[in-house]
Each structure stands twice: as C-alpha cells, then as structure tokens.
C-alpha cells in the first residue's frame, strides 16, 4: 500500500500539469467560442453585443445581441465553432511540443459547446448528441496521448539525470 502510494506520488506533477493546463485551455476555448459569435455579430451589423462569461442567475455562459431579421443566423451560430477549429488545428504544427495534444482537447470541447448551435442550425436535435459523443471521444484521446507522452518523458528525464 505504502509502495503503491509512493509510486503514484511520483506521477503527481504529471497529473497536476494536465489538470491545470486543461482548466486554462478549456476556459480559453469558452471565451474564444463566445468571441466567435461576437465577431460574427459585429461583422454582420448586430447591435448591443455582449458576452456574459457567467450569469449567476441563469448559471450559464452566453453571447447576447440584437440583430435585424435579414441577418443570416447560420453565420452567427457557426461563428463560435469556426473561430476555435482553425486555432485548435494550428496546434498540430508544434511537432516537438507536448502542447500539440491539446488540439484534441480543444477540438473535442469545441464540439461539445457547439452542439446546441449545430442542432439549432440543422433543425435536428439528435445532431447535438452526435457532437457531444464525438467531442467527448476527442477529449479522451487527447488526454490519453498527452498523459502517455508526459509519463514517458518523465522516465527519460530521470534517465538523463
């Protein structure tokens, strides 16, 4: 028992790194996603646009704007999804950095938070389930790849010392 605890303690920095960076990344994804709606709204001429990061009465995060009926809502809905996706894919360029695995976490989380937008856009509510499942799978794949890389890296660093 004591031995197992000691063995696990050795990997606590890996756990801490993954958890802390995931929190930072996910918070950033939510903000950038909302900015996507914001930029789309301001580009198409909507007024009184505001991003609410946390509304304590509704317990939610949202972007609010006043748009005329002529403005296509499809672009407004897709704004968040389309701003985050290229940013996430651009992380794959960082070939020698462990941070490239966050690409999957960002993409997956973007899929989850865009699920309601996509369902509204398509008019089929089941699509949101598909997006949530795909998103969750991408997050798990990303987390596993990231933690595997970090665990191997930890052993290699120990060897060099």
């Amino acid at each position: 028992m004591k031995k197992n605890l000691k063995k696990t303690q050795k990997y606590l920095p890996v756990l801490l790194y993954v958890v802390v960076f995931n929190i930072i990344v996910v918070t950033a994804v939510v903000v950038v996603h909302e900015e996507g709606h914001f930029f789309a709204g301001s580009y198409l001429g909507c007024n009184n646009i505001k991003i609410v990061l946390f509304d304590s009465s509704l317990l939610s995060t949202y972007t609010q704007m006043a748009c005329s009926s002529q403005i296509p809502t499809q672009i407004l809905l897709l704004g968040g999804f389309l701003l985050v996706t290229p940013l996430a894919i651009s992380l794959l360029v960082l070939k020698d950095f462990n941070e490239r695995y966050f690409c999957w976490v960002i993409l997956g989380f973007n899929f989850i938070i865009s699920s309601s937008d996509i369902a509204t856009l398509s008019g089929v509510w089941q699509v949101s389930f598909l997006f949530v499942i795909l998103g969750a799978a991408a997050i798990v794949v990303g987390e596993i790849m990231l933690s595997d890389r970090l665990l191997i890296l930890k052993e290699e660093i120990k060897t060099d010392m």
């Binding site: 696990t8 756990l15 995060t61 972007t63």
Partner: protein, 196 residues
C-alpha cells in the same frame, strides 16, 4: 438573440477536471502495470561481476539513445536498461553488487530469479589492482550455480590495463571469452542476441 452554451465556464472547468483526472489516473495505472509486466516478462540478461566500470559497459551496449531507468519495483538497487538488436529488445539487468563481502546477497538473487533471465554476462576485472583471478572465477561459479546454471558469456573487463597472468588464466579457463573495451562490440552483441 441569445447564443447560450450547454456548458458554462464553472461547469466546463469541473467537467474537464474530472475527465482529465480520470484519464491521467488510468494511464498512470496502466503505465505502471505495463512496466511491471515488461520488467518481469521480457528476455533479460544479467550483468554481474566486478563492479567498477560495469555501468559503463552496460551503457556501451545499450547506447545513449536507449531508454533506461532504475526499477523501483525492486527493494535493492538493480538498474534496468534496454539493448536494441534489430527488432529484438533485450533487457539488461544490472545488480549493483550481488556479493556482501565474500557471500552472495540472497535477497538480490531471489529478485533476479523473478525476472525472465536467459543469460549471465559476467565481467572479470583483469587490471593489475583487481581481485585475484582465482577469487573472481570462484565468485563466477557461485553466481552461475545460484542462478540455476544459467547460460553465460564471460567478458574480460579493463583489457586496456590488463595483467597478463590474469589474462592467460582466463583464456585457459574459458575457450570463448570476449574483451572490453573492444572495437568489435558487435560480436559480443551478436552473442548476447543469439542466446537471449
């Protein structure tokens, strides 16, 4: 018009914390388990003998780019490193010293027996200041018999500062003995790979 997210920031943070903790926790568990199975399951070569420069010898076999780490699973200090030979990966087990004074360390021998040992690489120190060669041969015999008459490859270590008498004695004792340091380390690696 309101674009509401299914997950607000606090829920998103809670969600990702739980998912990442479960994922990393599972991988740590799997990683340790895999290491444990690899350690005990893969074909191993025990490197024993007179200890100065033994680690240097192991490093020259495994080369720098090969992953090597001490095995925490053992109570006593036993170094583990890996030698790549083509597609074959051979585990080199380096017990720091299997002798306590003039007798074998029983606990270390027991731990070595748990591993899938196929071969014993025994290093004889042939330098001037080393232990008398008859003592070294005696220790070698005891090690082989303690490891259930395991196959062995004798190696003359520190050949660059050798004592000719020790050299001659070992050549009489063993027909096929390797030398280290040597330009032809591949021949030794071939011999290891053919047995392990």
């Amino acid at each position: 018009m309101i674009f509401e997210q299914p997950l607000s920031i606090p829920f998103a943070v809670a969600f990702i914390t739980i998912v990442s903790m479960i994922s990393v926790g599972y991988r740590i568990f799997a990683f340790n388990k895999q290491r444990y199975f690899y350690l005990y399951g893969s074909p191993s070569v025990v490197v024993a003998g007179h200890w100065p420069y033994k680690t240097h010898f192991v490093k020259s076999l495994t080369k720098k780019d090969v992953l090597s780490h001490p095995a925490d699973e053992f109570k006593n200090e036993i170094g583990i490193s890996y030698m790549d030979f083509g597609k074959k990966k051979i585990q080199l087990v380096d017990p720091k010293n299997i002798f306590i004074g003039s007798s074998l360390d029983g606990r270390k021998i027991d731990e070595l027996k748990k591993i899938n040992c196929r071969l014993l690489l025994y290093l004889f120190d042939v330098s001037h200041n080393a232990q008398p060669i008859n003592e070294q041969i005696k220790n070698f015999r005891r090690t082989v018999s303690a490891l259930d008459d395991i196959s062995y490859i004798p190696v003359m270590n520190k050949i660059d500062a050798c004592d000719d008498k020790k050299l001659e004695k070992l050549r009489q004792e063993f027909k096929n003995i390797h030398e280290f340091p040597s330009q032809n380390i591949e021949s030794l690696m071939n011999s290891i790979a053919s047995v392990a």
